[in-house]
Symmetry: C2
């Protein structure tokens, strides 16, 4: 099983090869005078074993669908990854890029940034995210294997994680889930160096990590992380386990640095000239900075070339598949949607126009999913233990179960953060489109992962229900107030808050078509009247905002509202019209999409120098952007309360009467 590293043309030992990684890492950090040399130097031996003997990859085809995925969860050790990519022959990871570590425009950012260079499978740095991404990748692999067969989908997911990753709570959610699902092709190398930034890990933790992983259903192992053969043997054992495996690699952080090795001093700062000179001596590495001797380069090139034959064999197997299956696999991996889904959704919307429905938008989301899930086989749903509330599971949608991956629905458990980060991993893996639900208020639990969906431009769809005080009795802990606006603040997140059953379907379409970023669907608990009663040739919600009801004459007031408050805007407009104030109602399901429209469309929708009143059952602050100087906002100014929803709307003054009063005071 173990691929061989032996290269007749090179006499380089694994240690020599690892020292090349160490040298590049310490020299690059030194040149940038910024970065983390300790982790790459400590894990160089184990990573060298992984990349030269186990990891299935081909630098000439970095997007090969069945490559093993490698996640550097301890992303601060980015130079480890950059050195490995450079040495194994990824063409875009040139020596100049390594030299430009942490400089503006370089591929070699301070932490690995997905999309900056081939071979960076995910953006890491915020600790614990990588290991949870990896769980999603390993899950995607199993789901795709179940769908397309093991001849084309059969790879491992490897992770290097540090103490920081394992101390973050999200790691527990990830570990627990992976153990439960028996993701046996997931292998975590723990860089067990006993050092954190503040000093020895023992300052803050006494955890028995192996016992912890075992409690979660993992197999574990422990080796000297500097003993290449021991690491290889452990990896061999791990690959045949029927559980996910954690291998504790005991290492010395900053291995080779004569004074700083084994201390927190080597964690996050350049070594300095003197210590670097000492390291060169200790490692018997007399070469100049960034200089790699030819025989070591050759050995690394050989390791990098290892996967080509396997990739070619894989391509033959792919070619041997039924043509339709092959096309489907290729399409799904490319992230393209299958033919027909849009028509199915349009037909469904046409049915709603013909026969309007009053339903909560969470229910409307389920109704849209009843159309989409059959039409898009790679759509994988789930909820963080709120399936019946989030309405995320369609009829007959089979659950994913331990060791059984022919389902399409994930019971994520009460693990919102882990769910979000695993969905990132699924989207990054490709071939699946993940959506997952919880209450909108618990986007707070997911927030670090949502940020990474946005930064990595991943199509992850967050189905966030119970989107306001409209959830009622559960009270302020469960009522989102600042969440809509706070998510709008986050770059590249499309926050979509549909007003009715038709807009919900349109928002689902927009979210699926948004291939370069996540969408948050904010959905009501309470029933909402269908407001869209006329057929539209285009997806109006995808424009972000549009005129839902035009005024009877040139508008003096324009009401801007989202979601459940559009109903209130419509009611207020009727009163205002009756009082002789021509009033337009604009439904604004998605600010981000509206902001991307041409200026003339925006101006047309917003109207000119008129009174604009915004209505939203969330923090009003921020709406000034659209209401302008004459405007007002009917919204929340503080936390909610526990009571039936209609009482809360009255209590907090989010009513048609309040809108009318605000408008009349201004027109």
């Amino acid at each position: 099983m173990t691929a061989q590293t032996t290269d007749a043309t090179s006499t380089a030992t694994p240690r020599d090869m690892a020292n090349a990684v160490r040298a590049l890492a310490m020299d690059a950090v030194e040149r940038a005078n910024s970065g983390h040399p300790g982790m790459p130097m400590g894990m160089a031996d184990a990573a060298t074993v992984l990349f030269t003997r186990f990891l299935k990859f081909d630098p000439k085809a970095p997007k090969w669908a069945d490559r093993d995925r490698f996640v550097l969860s301890a992303g601060h050790g980015s130079m480890l990854l950059y050195a490995l990519l450079h040495l194994t022959g990824y063409e875009d990871m040139t020596l100049d890029e390594v030299k430009n570590f942490r400089q503006l425009g370089a591929r070699t950012a301070g932490h690995p940034e997905y999309g900056h260079a081939s071979g960076i499978e995910t953006t890491t740095g915020p600790l614990g995210q990588g290991i949870a991404n990896a769980v999603g990748m390993a899950l995607a692999e199993r789901l795709l294997a179940a769908r397309f067969g093991g001849s084309v989908v059969d790879h491992y997911t490897y992770v290097i994680a540090g103490d920081g990753c394992l101390m973050e709570g999200i790691s527990q959610e990830a570990i627990s889930l992976a153990g439960h699902l028996k993701l046996s092709k997931l292998i975590v190398l723990w860089d067990d160096n006993g050092i954190s930034i503040d000093g020895p890990v023992s300052l803050s933790s006494s955890e028995d990590q192996r016992a912890r992983f075992e409690a979660a259903g993992w197999a574990t192992d422990a080796v000297d992380g500097h003993d290449a053969e021991a690491v290889a043997a452990a990896l061999d054992r791990a690959r045949s386990s029927d559980k996910p495996v954690m291998i504790a690699c005991r290492t010395v952080i900053g291995y080779g640095a004569p004074k700083k090795a084994g201390t927190s001093g080597v964690h996050g700062a350049a070594l300095g000239a003197e210590e670097i000179a000492g390291t060169r001596e200790a490692l018997a590495w007399p070469h100049a900075p960034f200089e790699i001797p030819a025989d070591i380069r050759t050995a690394w090139a050989h390791a990098g070339a290892r996967g080509a034959a396997e990739r070619e064999a894989w391509e033959k197997r792919l070619g041997a598949l039924d043509a339709e299956v092959q096309a489907d696999f290729t399409r799904a991996m490319a992230g393209e949607l299958p033919a027909g889904w849009k028509q199915a959704l349009d037909d469904y919307i046409a049915g709603l126009i013909a026969s309007p429905k009053t339903v909560a938008t969470r229910k409307a989301s389920e109704m849209a999913l009843e159309v989409l899930v059959p039409a898009i086989p790679e759509l994988i749903g789930g909820s963080a233990d709120l399936t019946g509330s989030n309405n995320t599971r369609t009829k007959g949608m089979k659950p994913v179960a331990p060791g059984e991956f022919d389902g399409r629905y994930v019971f994520w458990g009460i693990r919102e953060h882990g769910m979000a980060a695993a969905m990132n991993g699924m989207a990054l893996h490709g071939g699946v489109i993940p959506y997952g639900g919880t209450f909108l208020v618990f986007t707070d639990y997911c927030r670090p992962a949502i940020r990474l969906s946005a930064l990595m431009e991943q199509r992850v769809i967050y189905v966030m229900t119970h989107d306001s005080i409209g959830l009622g009795e559960d009270g302020p802990t469960h009522q989102p107030v600042e969440h809509l606006m706070s998510l709008r603040m986050m770059p590249n997140v499309a926050v979509m808050r549909p007003a009715d059953v038709v807009e919900t379907a349109e928002c689902w379409a927009a979210a699926l078509e948004r291939t370069n970023g996540p969408s948050v669907l904010a959905l009501s608990r309470q029933n909402l009247k269908q407001l869209r009663l006329e057929a539209s040739a285009e997806n109006l919600s995808a424009k972000g905002a549009y005129i839902l009801r035009e005024a009877s004459a040139a508008p003096k007031a324009v009401l801007l509202a989202t979601g459940s408050e559009v109903e209130i805007a419509v009611a207020a407009a009727e009163v205002l019209e009756a009082k002789g104030v021509p009033t337009r109602v604009v439904s604004m399901p998605c600010w981000e999409l509206f902001a991307a429209q041409p200026a003339d469309y925006q101006a047309r929708v917003l109207g000119g120098d008129v009174v604009r009143i915004a209505i939203e059952a969330g923090i009003g602050f921020g709406w000034e952007r659209w209401t302008g100087p004459k405007g007002a906002v009917i919204g929340m100014t503080g936390f909610g309360a526990s009571a039936p929803a209609p009482e809360l709307y009255r209590h907090f003054g989010i009513t048609a009467e309040a809108v009318v009063d605000a408008a009349l005071a201004r027109v």
Copy 2:
């Protein structure tokens, strides 16, 4: 050790008493037609044992400093707590309140809300928060015991947690920390009912919870949660452990409900008339809704009266303390600051005016702390493994270590969320004032707990450094962009971003004096010139915004800036003045405090109908609130990048030149 429950005047058994809890819970949920009956009915027996035989409390003195703390981490089971508080005789928890469960204005909110009623020690509902709060409470208890002695500080902290709490990642951070620190007076009762909302816990988890806790350094036990004597015996054992203890209480959710018990159907919805009738029969509880037979009431009243004598004895012990120590204890528990701290800080500021300093505001924070930590003995510091970066540890500040609680500095480990939630628990416990650090970008990890600091109006001080692209090379994963504005969106959070060493000291004072909510200090990595060079009799930062540099004549432009960008505003103002544009610079360290100023002060600072330009190295969106229709914002529109900080400021156009151009285009 075990207090006796026997009451000669009552024949009520523990089961009878527990059934009273069950009945109140199911009847209140039924009346509200909303709520979670399953958990209170399942845990009624164990909770009855705890409240009648172990928990040290006195309903007549609910704020007794040395009471045991009880945390219902599984907050959805709020009726369990309300029933217990009512039955044990908390005067504000009347039967009418129980009947008004989940109604507007009632003390009996959907989830327990701190401050709504006596005996609610913390707001719970967002899962996992309670157990982490409890770690903070147990830690506060030990810290205070070390300071004031075991004669006045010697209590337990008990938690009831469900599967949801234990699946949330934050629970791992909490557990790991408690085990490490050997918080042996922390006892968790796990409601091991095997049911989550989506169905059996086995749908999503296979974790061996006892093994997991043991891996974290806890002792564990397992009992039949319906066997009062077994629960009592386990609690007895737990109280003498030298580790924190988790007792797995195997229970049947919705115990007593003939059809729904043991299913997810009883978790979060009213039982319905038929099932309630069946439950009354099954429990041999023939009484009308909300009716508690006299002998059972008597038994509960007896349990509630149990603590009075112990409290009186405690008050005698308190009275026997040295008068100064006694006063200090009482003052600290009341949350009042000691005399002298303000003068010490004022003297320090006077020194800065006399001898200005150019330092990063994170360093300025450390300098302020060097004054405050000695002056305020209850100030407890810490960092989530970024001590040297957050500058949170002052000289000679002794660390808290496992079993050793005479220190004042907590190495929280890489556990931002757990730190934040534990700080909530510390503040709620009282007697200590917690502050803790991480990078501002990782407020995302803390966000659910920060929200609870705000909702519970707790004085928790978040020391968040590296507050912009100014952190440089670590790149976009570590550069906060949307965070300042997103935190400002959250009700009752004071986001303070000081511009220099003087403002940093002033913000510390404002944060300490802000007793009804959390403060987030957003601090720079990079050095900032001291801009405040004149003495001020008042704390200008505490006004939220103030005129830092007045224009040479009636201002045509007003520059609004925070933190590191105030320097840019000052530079731009000089250029504008030279070009004949009278320009005012307003430093605006805290929007929330400024918004609370009288309108005339706000108007005076902002100027009238002038051009206002905001400058902040974060998402600009939101500044429209202050800039008004003629204004502009110089800020970020997307994520940052990895490069040296000065390059990033140029790259993203946050420069004095850009400010000058924007102003000239508008005046």
